[in-house]
Symmetry: C2
Subunit: 334 residues, 2 copies
């Protein structure tokens, strides 16, 4: 394998290397701000999550966007920590909502401590992220992050109510995806441009890039749920089916269903009456209507959109890494 191939395969590692001093500052700030003088439970819970690693893709996006736009001030560090805190807070609340038992290969906080700690420490991290962004002194940044927070929360509620509902449209699915992933990706890149005082065309391009990258990423995730290698995707094939979640492949197969298939979907998704062999039937129906292939093409299309808008931004090795990152998120289904 050529070095070039390795480099193209690991754009996140290259971003980590390129932005190492900034990321070190972000990590110091995160550790400092998640401390609580009086409530030791707080750093216990957050350290459990933060130390587990995770890809830190969101803070990297903020740092890359700010540096790509020539920022030389201190506040991209605050904003990178902000988006990581928001992300960690949503993970804590998600685990309560999904009754999860594992996250990043470790027991979840709600299992190790209790749901109460997950809810309250999540709230604490939200409030800490809020303090961090206020420190930047930019009302525009606050506006962007307030709107992203609302989209995230609305998307989560939407996912809750859209589950088990065959009437879920692709438009609703897209909104759930924005809430789950793309809204924070888009805000992460946009605030990087804003804090750098980049021209409007660049700020818009950064926002569009983050949004498209997040959507591509989530569609791939949902696609692999029906056809990925469980050792790679970190969950089992069919988890979404068993939880009766309506994701893009199923939405497309349902839209093309005949009466018999419709009755099948109604039984397994709406009534929740799932029997041995049903997952195999689902995979057959997804294949019959080309739902997997069409979903795959949609993911590739979003990745192309992400790359295309980067033309608005200055030519730079960071820009190349962001382009490679868009390729990377869809590489598993290319």
């Amino acid at each position: 394998m050529s070095l070039d191939k390795v480099n193209r395969d690991k754009p996140l590692d290259r971003l980590v290397a390129r932005l190492a001093p900034d990321m070190a500052a972000v990590n110091v700030l995160i550790l400092d701000r998640m401390a609580s003088e009086h409530a030791p439970r707080i750093p216990e819970v957050t350290a459990h999550l933060v130390e587990a690693g995770g890809k830190r893709v969101r803070p990297l996006l903020t740092l890359a966007a700010a540096r790509l736009c020539g920022y030389a001030g201190p506040y991209h560090i605050h904003l990178a920590a902000t988006v990581e805190f928001i992300h960690t807070a949503t993970l804590l609340h998600d685990d309560v909502v999904d009754e999860s038992r594992q996250r990043r290969g470790r027991p979840t906080a709600n299992l190790l401590w209790d749901n109460k700690s997950s809810v309250l420490v999540g709230d604490y991290l939200f409030s800490r992220s809020f303090q961090l962004m206020v420190e930047t002194g930019s009302l525009r940044v606050l506006d962007i992050l307030a709107n992203a927070s609302a989209t995230i929360a609305e998307g989560e509620v939407l996912q809750l109510t859209a589950a088990q509902d065959l009437a879920t449209t692709e438009a609703i699915y897209l909104q759930v995806v924005r809430g789950k992933t793309a809204a924070l990706f888009a805000a992460a890149t946009e605030v990087g441009g804003v804090i750098a005082g980049a021209p409007e065309a660049q700020v818009t391009a950064l926002r569009t890039y983050g949004d498209a990258l997040g959507i591509a990423f989530q569609i791939v995730d949902d696609l692999l749920d029906y056809g990925g290698d469980s050792s790679v995707i970190g969950k089992n094939v069919g988890d979404d089916f068993r939880e009766r979640k309506l994701t893009m492949p199923v939405i497309r197969a349902v839209a093309a269903a005949d009466a018999t298939e419709r009755a099948f979907w109604s039984r397994v998704i709406e009534a929740g009456d799932q029997r041995p062999g049903d997952l195999e039937e689902v995979l057959r129906l997804l294949d019959r209507h080309g739902a997997m292939e069409r979903t795959r093409l949609t993911a590739l299309d979003w990745a192309e959109r992400a790359k295309a808008v980067l033309a608005e931004l200055p030519a730079d090795d960071l820009r190349d890494m962001l382009a490679d990152l868009a390729d990377f998120v869809v590489a598993r289904v290319r």
Copy 2:
């Protein structure tokens, strides 16, 4: 009963009457902002809480503070809606944490829907409150509310970890009380002064008033848990004892305990081994060490502090109502 007596007894009703047009605007804004085009679960859950009434004391404090400082702009309405949203969000999360079944005389949202909805709709209301405060364009207001949010969240975690711990000090108790009640009261009055552009001495006085009012209110609440009329306090005598919460009367009795009493407290609070007759023994110990009486005097002292700082503010009927409100919150134990 003279009219004067009636008036002094109901300062909240007088504030409602005095600020009726403002409160009407706040209610319109609340209804508008809790709507969600795509996730009908959100207004269902919030309407359940908002329609249940509650005293709306926090938005009234913001409106009163702004008007008392001569504010004539539109943003006190946004800030009043903001503090009510933050309050409602914390109620939703509290009910999950406390596993409550009743709130304001109605079944709680976590019982009617599920814990998931309470967690996520709470997050949604936080994000909406955040959008509302950004609209005011005041970074100072954002700073105050970010700090209040952190104090609230930290206080909640602290309450969780301080429960069942006999080493809980009065200083920790005070921080829990600030988190539960006083931090949002203080922010509610302070932002009213800030948005009005009041002189610093007035802003400080408003903050101190809200803080002291909230502390007095919460101490009275905790005191009544050991000696109130259940039809008045809305819960049964001894609820905090059964939940092994360390409140001021118990903290003071524990501090004065001899070895035998210490063993008793350790059994009922730390080990959670509560037997018939234990509550009666608790009441006897509280009485023996004068813990109830001393707690009562502390509550009255906080109410006096609240009233005293009002001297910094313009003479006005709103100022008189705020003074009467401080008397009112401790009237049940006077």
